[in-house]
């Protein structure tokens, strides 16, 4: 298992490398630069700026510099947010995004599994239809509709929770963003778990467990769900990475200082290092969670072997 993990991590290195290279040259090919304003800047000042940020060097040498800085854990200075390095920005934003994302993930997994399993046990009953309906609603309603409505209802009309803004200390600010982030994931997980639980409940090992006279609680909770979690787990890999690296929409609507906004802002402002930093972070999260998914898979399904 350890060898497998190490091998996977080693094989991820070239993938990350290719992603970094692709992104680096693609963003550089985009017309415009980080210091372009409506009114052209004096060429001398522009030359100075370019020298200060090492933009006057040939592209390949900038690329090598970037790679070597990256190996030292330095993501470079931000071009548009003066006085901040990308490391500074992420040091503030990443914990916020990870906090929100992991709580949303937790809510989604727990609630989605419970709802899905409940619907599967009571297949074709009112509960089942309610869960399926809720799931379809959650999948089809985009988060940029849900977020403003929640903010309006609970923040403005009822006044129970803050309509927007952020506080690291006050969990009241966390509730609406977490609900918005978790809702579509609850829906997808509930659907996946429902489908696979229905199948698992008909399988031989569950019938055997029933024949032993085990209580339904154990049959479903231990034997059926263990197999039924597999599709949800493989869905969760990329989803977890997406949730933990922040959502542009949720952060924009609720005014949260996470890192989800940086990608769009960076790409629009030609903030090369900020875009690169976001891509690197996202790629690492995706690869990490795909690895976690594979390991969890092996733990849930003893037939899967990785040596």
């Amino acid at each position: 298992m350890l060898i497998y993990t190490l091998r996977r991590l080693a094989s991820a290195v070239p993938t990350v490398f290719v992603i970094i290279t692709l992104t680096f040259f693609m963003i550089r090919m985009a017309p415009g630069g980080p210091f372009d304003l409506e009114r052209p800047i004096d060429p001398l000042i522009m030359a100075n700026l370019n020298r200060a940020y090492n933009l006057d060097a040939p592209l390949w040498s900038q690329y090598l510099t970037y790679l070597s800085n990256l190996l030292h854990g330095d993501l470079g200075p931000s071009f548009t947010k003066r006085d901040f390095s990308v490391n500074d920005l992420f040091a503030v934003g990443l914990p916020v995004s990870i906090l929100l994302g992991s709580l949303a993930l937790l809510v989604a997994v727990v609630l989605g599994t419970i709802l899905g399993a409940w619907a599967a046990i009571r297949q074709n009953s009112g509960v089942d239809y309610a869960v399926v309906g809720l799931a379809t609603f959650g999948i089809t309603t985009p988060n940029f509709v849900v977020a403003p409505l929640l903010s309006l209802l609970f923040g403005v009309v009822l006044g129970w929770l803050p309509a927007g803004g952020w506080s690291n200390a006050n969990p009241a600010y966390w509730v609406l963003p977490i609900v918005t982030l978790a809702l579509p994931q609850v829906a997808v997980i509930a659907r996946l778990v429902r489908g696979s639980t229905i199948e698992a409940l008909r399988s031989n090992h569950v019938r055997t467990a029933r024949a032993y006279g085990l209580p339904t609680r154990v049959v479903v909770g231990v034997h059926a769900l263990r197999a039924a979690m597999l599709p949800a787990v493989s869905y969760l890999g990329p989803t977890a990475a997406g949730l933990l690296t922040g959502s542009v929409v949720v952060e924009t609507i609720f005014g949260i200082p996470g890192i989800g906004r940086y990608f769009v802002q960076g790409a629009l402002g030609r903030d090369y290092t900020l875009v690169m930093g976001t891509v690197v972070v996202i790629a690492i999260f995706v690869i990490f969670f795909n690895l976690v998914v594979d390991l969890v898979y092996a733990w849930l399904d003893p037939r899967v072997r990785y040596d």
Partner: protein, 375 residues
């Protein structure tokens, strides 16, 4: 002894049913799927013909009706007609008697010290409230009656922040969103099916390299390409659907490759190979048609994804631009105005949700009806 042959009825010919006919029969039994199809066809018709037939053009601004709430009653409201008329009347600087509202016509007696210039009617022509102003002058030209028709406008979903009819804008939004959804999915379909079928059929090292490329593209943030393309080539409808198509073909390529891997081992492909069919011929005649079942299902689920992606882009300000609009842009404007004008958020959001609901149900229905396990 003569054996009389028993008269045999000719057995009725057995009509064969193809996979697609079977699927169609099963699909028709699924009420949610049929209802979704009806809804989608209606929405498509609304998107295609609605903007041309609707009385308000989608880019017509009514400055006097900014942000009026959704209502079945006609605007202007009965109690605002006469004050508005008097306001215009004052600008004509004529001595006027009390205006009389009868049905949808207002008449007023006017008098002046000099001859009345018929150009005073311009004040009424310019207003959104009145139309067809007429001036009946007496012999001396110093007195007469002005008559105008009150224009009764309906804004069933209200108007937006600069006074455009929301129904007309939603119709255009439906058109743009559906068009982008369908075109982008078609693009992903062509790319993904070709790539996946070639990769799976050639197999071996080519397959390895081609799938590795897909894996790498998977790890890039999906919105990355879209933003870069929009940044590169500017914002236009064509770029948006190409960009979305480019980001959505990866899953399709994987599905088709998996199908192709199992299909190419089957006897009918071996038979075609033995008969000397070319690789291209086998791919296009035998392999691709047999992958279409799962592909059709996936496309129905891809259309809502593309629509959502376009809405997301428009929401971020990277999509279509004013005065053209899409459902995502309308929702974004609605979210900005929701505190005073909730209808601006509710109606576009409902329309988008309805489209996505219908497409999802149709996709589910298609999957159930094309699934051979179900027989």
């Amino acid at each position: 002894m003569v054996v009389q042959p028993l008269p045999l009825d000719e057995p009725p010919p057995v009509a064969g049913r193809s996979l697609w006919q079977d699927a169609w029969i099963r699909l028709r039994r699924n009420r949610a799927a049929v209802a979704s199809m009806v809804v989608l066809v209606l929405l498509a018709l609304v998107g295609i013909f609605g903007p041309a037939l609707w009385p308000h053009p989608y880019n017509r601004v009514y400055p006097q009706f900014v942000r009026v709430p959704a209502s079945l009653e006609a605007y202007p409201r009965a109690d605002t007609i006469l004050p508005a008329f008097e306001r215009e009347l004052r600008r004509t600087r004529l001595d006027a008697g009390p205006p009389v509202l009868e049905g949808s016509e207002i008449t007023v007696e006017v008098r002046a010290d000099e001859a009345i210039d018929p150009r005073v009617l311009r004040y009424f022509e310019r207003s959104d409230l009145f139309s067809n102003p007429r001036l009946d002058l007496a012999e001396d030209g110093r007195s007469g009656t002005i008559a105008v028709d009150v224009q009764r406008l309906h804004f069933f979903f209200g108007t937006d922040a600069i006074g455009r009819d929301l129904v007309a804008r939603i119709m255009i939004g439906v058109r743009i969103s559906l068009a982008i959804g369908i075109l982008a999915s078609f693009m992903a379909l062509v790319l993904g099916v070709t790539y996946g079928a070639v990769s799976g059929y050639l197999g071996g090292r080519v397959d390895n390299v081609m799938m590795r490329i897909v894996d790498i593209l998977y790890s890039l943030p999906f919105i990355f390409f879209v933003i870069l393309m929009v940044v590169f080539f500017g914002r236009s409808l064509v770029i948006i659907f190409i960009a979305i198509g480019f980001t959505e073909w990866l899953d399709m390529a994987r599905i088709v490759r998996g199908q192709t891997l199992s299909l190419k081992r089957q006897e009918f492909v071996q038979a075609a190979e033995a008969l000397g069919a070319t690789r291209l011929g086998i791919l296009t005649r035998h392999i691709i048609p047999n992958t279409l079942g799962p592909v059709v299902v996936f496309v129905t689920l891809l259309v809502p994804k593309a629509i959502l992606l376009e809405s997301l882009l428009s929401f971020l300000g990277l999509g279509v631009q004013d005065p053209l609009t899409s459902l995502g842009l309308l929702i974004s404007e609605g979210a900005a105005n929701m505190r005073g004008a909730l209808w601006l958020l509710i109606w576009p959001a409902l329309t988008l949700t309805l489209i996505l609901f219908a497409l999802n149900f149709l996709g589910d229905g298609l999957r159930d009806s094309l699934d051979p396990k179900d027989r």
